[in-house]
Amino acid sequence: MTALSLFAVTGAVLIGIGFYGLIATRHFLRRVVAFNLIGSGLFLFFGATGARGGVTDPVPQALIITGIVVAFSASALGVGLVVARARLSGRAALPEEEDGA
């Protein structure tokens, strides 16, 4: 397996881990973290794609740089919403599911 394939598969696994965290965890802050994992897994996959064929293509690199900054600003807004919600309701996690719901 070449280095690029290794990083691309790592990116794919990261996306899977991130999605699991987004679906299966209940605390909102952990969900924001999971969202960040999906984002950076995607960037890794995309970056590896852009480096195939010998030369590194600058277009994916430029998009990833803007993507990292945008993902960060989205996280900052998300974290702000989590904190604001906790102040209003005193909780920052989804309640436990009732059986049969």
Partner: protein, 309 residues
Amino acid sequence: MTLAFNAALCALILAAALATILGRGIFRSIMFFIVYGLLMAVAWVRLDVVDVALAEAAIGAGLTGVLFLAAFGRLVREGAEAEPPRRINPPAAVACVGLTAALTWAWFSLPIPERPGPQLAEALPRAGVENPVTAVLLNFRAWDTLLESIVLLAALIGLWMLTREDDWRNRLGLPQHVRPGGVMSGFGRVLPPVGLLVGVYLAYVGADRPGGAFQGGTVLAAVGLVAAMTGLVRPPRISAPGWRAVLVAGPLVFLVAGLAGALLGTNFLTLPAPVAGGAIFVIEVALLLSVAVTLTFLVLGPPEGENRR
């Protein structure tokens, strides 16, 4: 040896990512996310994309950690950091394994393209800079960058909309205090000058080496954050006109340059070759300042009064 190194690096990255999701307690999750960001910066260097590695090092390993830790502290004070007991969710796990498998299949079945496209090599001499990543960011695909700087501004406005009515006139973030002459205030006096130098250096070399306005801006944002947290400077209020001007300077200068391109006969946002170098320099300075200030304000958060429980 390099394969063993890459494999070990990927294993550590995956271990850290799994631990953020599966570890008990939100604090542990945040710590592993910081570790994960550090390892990702190394991974980007291994992929030979230093431009991305610089951005990841400043944001993933620096700013995001402070953002999450500050949020965790606020949740602790609200008594909302506890997590309900978690169970394994088998359907979600199966779906996510399926997603990973599909992406892996996609990777191995995609045709290998010819890189980079011949258009880029042909166009690069007209770009005005030698670093192809900077050329793409600020000239060839300037649309993305312009809209991205506006997204940053929109996120900040959204965050500020969460301010409470009585906090509106306070300074951004929590009112920081340190022991005068203590370790933290000493650190806050030593680091910012060096950090300013590094940030400006990264932005300056961006024309022909890895670096640029975004990479430099993220480093400057981290420096601004250190200065605010250690009490070296006090954050401004939302209404401060000078800081508002800096926030919009980046997108505004970008738009003006784009319109000028349209008036000078080329298309909107396409910089004519003779002035491209100078125009990129002006845009970069404005973007550097806007990105740095916006990111700092995003981490500091909306204004909060003193000792709010």
